[in-house]
């Protein structure tokens, strides 16, 4: 068996190594790649390890935006200043796998794998994230909604590396909810992220595991956005009807399937429940001190 691993200590080294051949593949945490290897779907050939390339690690502020390195681990998303800035991403990260998996798995890996059940994707979708890419032709950007093209299909071309994901730093509540067939270490049945932009006067929703790609629900967003009192950042919904209607509209934006984890009918219902719950939480009165 032939195979090689290049440990790239910089982005340039990674790009160079990728030029070695079309079968070269990047590996960061390996939490998706090793599943493919174990399932016999891919035989390790030329691997380019990028977990030691400093350009891809960590995160930083860039004006109104946050630049999340593609090598950012779930464990790093879970806590600290970043968890305060993008709380829905922290909530999503906390639901991923086990602590060992969260120490290894990365944001870039989640984006590039482009699984319908990728746990960060509903949040990134709601945030209108933009993917930064470096390649043989230089750098380019691709909005996430264009980058993810289908089930495990992306816009990434030969020789390219996702270097970062840019999301806006928003003022407003964020929620992430996930239903699975057990309480942890689970591939989701459905996921819903709700992000409030108090300055832009929008409520944005991203849904996962309910369509081939993460989806937004523009009708639902417009409906609830028009009913929010943006000055007070409150949603007047004493009977819960608004939240319920929002949930229904979000569910209508999905196209779930039956599989061994659940049924399409259940997924639609769970999306509606989670979306309603998320929007209620996002606009609930702050706890009295």
């Amino acid at each position: 068996m032939s195979g090689s691993v290049t440990v790239a200590r910089s982005l340039d080294q990674a790009l160079d190594a990728l030029r070695s051949g079309p079968d070269a593949r990047l590996v960061a945490g390996g939490t998706d790649l090793m599943v493919e290897v174990n399932a016999g779907r891919w035989q390790p050939g030329t691997l380019v390890s990028v977990d030691r390339a400093p350009e891809l690690r960590g995160w930083h502020r860039d004006g109104d935006e946050i630049v999340l390195g593609s090598g950012l681990t779930y464990a790093e998303m879970e806590r600290g200043e970043l968890a305060r800035l993008v709380p829905a991403l922290a909530q999503a990260a906390r639901t991923v796998g086990s602590p060992q998996i969260r120490n290894a798995g990365t944001l870039g890996g989640n984006v590039v794998t482009a699984s319908p059940a990728g746990d960060t994707l509903p949040v990134l979708t709601a945030l209108d994230a933009v993917v930064q890419i470096a390649g043989p032709e230089g750098t380019r950007i691709s909005p996430l909604r264009e980058f993810v093209r289908g089930v495990k299909r992306t816009d990434l071309r030969a020789g390219e590396v996702v270097t970062a994901v840019r999301v806006p730093a928003l003022r407003g509540a964020q929620e992430f909810l996930k239903v699975g067939t057990r309480n942890a270490m689970v591939i989701s049945v459905v996921m819903v992220a709700v992000v409030v932009d108090l300055d832009g006067h929008t409520v944005r929703v991203g849904v996962g595991s309910a369509a081939p790609v993460p989806v937004r629900a523009p009708l639902a967003e417009e409906y609830v956005g028009a009913l929010v009192d943006w000055e007070r950042a409150r949603m007047d919904d004493p009977t819960g009807e608004v939240a319920a209607q929002f949930g229904e509209l979000v569910a209508q934006a999905t196209s779930p399937i039956d599989d061994h984890r659940s049924t399409a009918a259940y997924r639609r219902r769970a999306v509606a429940v989670c979306a309603a719950r998320a929007v209620r939480r996002a606009f609930q009165e702050p706890e009295s001190p």
Binding site: N38, A39, T181
Partner: protein
């Protein structure tokens, strides 16, 4: 009947000795089957069939043979011929027939595990594929009546006229329950290191639940004398029944070692285990309970339909629990089996009682509701005086005491029986109960005991510690029987050259091994006594055999009992089920080590919780495969699913069991748990789930 004294409390657990091999295990010094250093060792990896039925027409190994590091590719065309045994699953690479998807059709030997796997990926197999049949259906035209059910119970039993008794009963319950295919995967996969000596002897480091039988089967397969086969199983990382008999790994490793003339290691991959190491059959169970308005059973009928393979008949004894748990003057149990194009099912923790209790104990809960009776009280009213089918007295039977003590500790008395009315925010809250039981059996075993002039006692028998703590408990039994501190006892187990002993299975390991040790200790002390305590330079030695004691059946029905109480919270909108509280109270005879015993009971209950909420082998009808043949898809409970699981036991003295006075605890913990959970879900939501697992979509879909 024996008086029940106080329940054993936490301080007993705290006072119990810790595991004698604990330090070796946590520091990695303990060696498992493929960790023993062996010179010049190579690795093997199986190629498994990708069709569910047919014949192999061609195996193209040219690319595999050209793969770097590959030493050999074995197929039915070139593999060594094997002798006959009664396990058809072990006739590996002996024919071109494919009996199920995932069956071994080639074996690649490589210098490393990676090269063997790469070679296996490169083997091309062509088939003449036949139409397969993999779906269990009670109306399947090929259903038949097996000769017996595991391990030797009558297939059907009948007393009185249960049909008429049911027809005239004031309260009738007729319900059908199903359980899916379930898999028992230990943390350590099935694994073997095999090497042949120049003198034709075969040495096997193997992960199994008892190597006495493994050595015998391997001798038969390879045409050897049993003494030419040496199986070493010093440490084993779990079994749950799936390592109770030899599995393909040991046969393949020995074949490969023979073929290449070098020692071979083979550890099955997790995905292989979904087809190669047994599993629990799916079951369809119809329960008919006829009772008086005050809940006294007049008729109890339990009919079971389940599957086996086309290779071998394995019939799980699913309805056997209904033969002894409750009184009823008219009763019947039946088992029907169908041979499908699937792997052969086998032992999984509490075969029979685990799935059977789900149906029986759910039905009892339904009957309690129909009679407007508390489910604990219903069970008490149907307590038999003697074993209902055999008429034998119970050696001890403390089911009612377990129910009462559990109810008291759980706070059952305040329970409002109305389903679907307790709400805490978005959560619907409910509680449920179920009985547990498991046979208390002992099997013949031998133990060699010797004492040296230094006063140290050496105990040797082919017991095995599969992670349960038996090494620790046996050391305690020996020390107590010899009236010595435990540090004066040396225990040797896990080696087929030691005196033959029972497997770690059927909850019979500790009782069988312990009895041999107690008998040996008596003989040894007598010998020492006859010499007035003077031990000669080369020591004294005895070998005890309990065959006679075990044969001398004393006419009692022997069973362990328990009661499990469960609280669930069900999300009213999503149907997600959480289990904040699970309590088991058991009566299991004498407990040797409270620490490891509690661990076994809590482990069984956790597995039962997993069975209730998660475990489901999904059949791929089109391809005859398991859809979820890995642990990412086949879910067992995660830590976050297991909150407060507690187990305790009543002090129980039973003279009629064995020389240890214990009933065995490996399996009873899983019996009844799933029903307790389902009954609690019904209490919480009003939805009766009769098909496991209790999936969110099933729960909401029928609400």
């Amino acid at each position: 009947m024996n008086d029940v004294v106080r329940p054993v409390m936490q301080d007993a657990v705290a006072a119990a000795p810790t595991r004698v091999d604990g330090r070796d295990k946590v520091t990695g010094r303990a060696r498992y089957a493929v960790e023993h250093p062996v010179e010049d060792v190579v690795w093997a990896w199986p190629v498994t069939s990708t069709v569910a039925k047919g014949r192999v027409t061609e195996i193209d190994a040219s690319e595999a043979n050209g793969t770097e590091g590959v030493i050999a590719v074995l197929t039915h065309a070139n593999a060594p011929r094997l002798g006959e045994t009664d396990d058809a699953e072990l006739q590996l690479l002996q024919s071109d027939r494919v009996a199920y998807r995932g069956q071994v059709c080639a074996l690649v030997v490589g210098e490393t595990v990676e090269s063997a796997r790469a070679g296996a990926d490169a083997v091309r197999v062509r088939y003449d594929e036949a139409e397969h049949d993999v779906v269990l259906d009670a109306r399947h035209p090929a259903m038949f009546t097996p000769e017996k059910v595991n391990p030797g119970f009558p297939t059907d039993t009948s007393i009185g006229d249960p049909d008429t008794a049911f027809a005239v009963a004031a309260v009738q319950l007729d319900a059908t329950y199903t359980t899916p295919t379930e898999h028992n995967h230990a943390m350590e996969p099935h694994a073997t290191t095999a090497s042949w000596g120049a003198d034709g002897t075969l040495t096997l480091y193997d992960s199994n639940q008892g190597s006495t039988g493994v050595a015998r089967v391997m001798a038969d397969l390879f045409g050897l004398q049993v003494r030419a086969v040496h199986v070493i199983s010093e440490h084993v990382g779990g079994g749950f029944g799936s390592k109770g008999t030899p599995r393909p790994n040991i046969v393949l490793a020995a074949m490969a070692a023979q073929a290449v003339g070098r020692p071979v290691r083979l550890a099955l991959g997790r995905q292989h285990m979904f087809s190669l190491v047994g599993y629990r059959t799916p079951t369809i169970q119809r329960l008919r309970l006829g009772a008086t308005t005050d809940g006294v059973l007049r008729s109890l009928v339990h009919d079971v339909w389940e599957q086996t393979s086309t290779l071998d008949d394995f019939a799980e004894q699913t309805a056997v629990i209904s033969r002894m748990l409750y009184a009823a003057p008219a009763r019947r149990t039946t088992h029907r089996l169908v041979r499908l194009d699937v792997p052969t099912p086998s032992w999984m923790r509490a075969p029979g009682e685990a799935p059977g209790s789900f149906a029986l104990e759910s039905a009892m809960d339904e009957l309690a509701a129909a009679c407007d009776l508390d489910p604990v009280e219903l069970r008490v009213r149907n307590e038999p005086d003697v074993d209902p089918e055999s008429g034998k007295p119970f050696s001890s039977r403390n089911l009612v005491a377990c129910l009462r003590e559990g109810a008291r500790r759980f706070g059952w008395e305040q329970r409002d029986p109305t389903p679907g009315v307790r709400r805490d925010g978005r959560w619907l809250v409910g509680t449920g109960v179920a009985s547990s039981t498991y046979p208390a059996r002992t099997a013949p075993s031998q133990a060699r005991m010797s004492i040296g002039s230094d006063g140290v006692v050496t105990v040797e028998l082919n017991a095995v510690d599969i992670g349960t703590g038996s090494r620790t408990a046996l050391t305690q039994i020996a020390a107590e029987a010899m009236d010595l501190p435990t540090d004066r006892v040396r225990l040797r187990i896990g080696d087929s050259t030691l005196p033959p002993a029972m497997i770690a299975g059927g909850s019979m390991g500790l009782t069988s091994w312990g009895s041999a040790i107690v008998k040996g200790a008596r003989q040894l002390r007598e010998l020492v006594g006859r010499r007035d305590g003077a031990i000669p330079e080369d020591g004294l030695e005895v070998t005890a055999d309990t065959a006679e004691e075990v044969r001398a059946v004393s006419g009692y029905a022997r069973h362990a009992f328990g009661a499990q109480f469960c609280e669930v919270r069900v999300d009213a909108d999503t149907g997600e089920v959480r289990v904040p509280r699970l309590l088991g109270v058991f009566a299991v005879g004498r407990v040797i080590n409270a620490r490891t015993a509690r661990s076994q009971l809590v482990g069984g209950m956790t597995m039962g919780l997993s069975m209730a909420l998660h475990e489901e082998g999904v059949v791929d009808v089109q391809h005859g495969d398991n859809v979820n043949h890995d642990l990412a898809g086949y879910h067992i409970a995660a830590h976050a699913d297991v909150a407060d699981v507690d187990a305790m036991w009543l002090e129980e003295h039973d003279e009629h069991l064995n020389l240890v006075g214990a009933k065995g605890i490996g399996e009873i913990g899983i019996v009844g748990t799933a029903a307790a959970v389902a009954n609690a879900v019904h209490h919480a939501t009003g939805v009766r789930v009769r098909d496991l697992p209790i999936r969110v979509d099933r729960l909401l879909g029928r609400g």
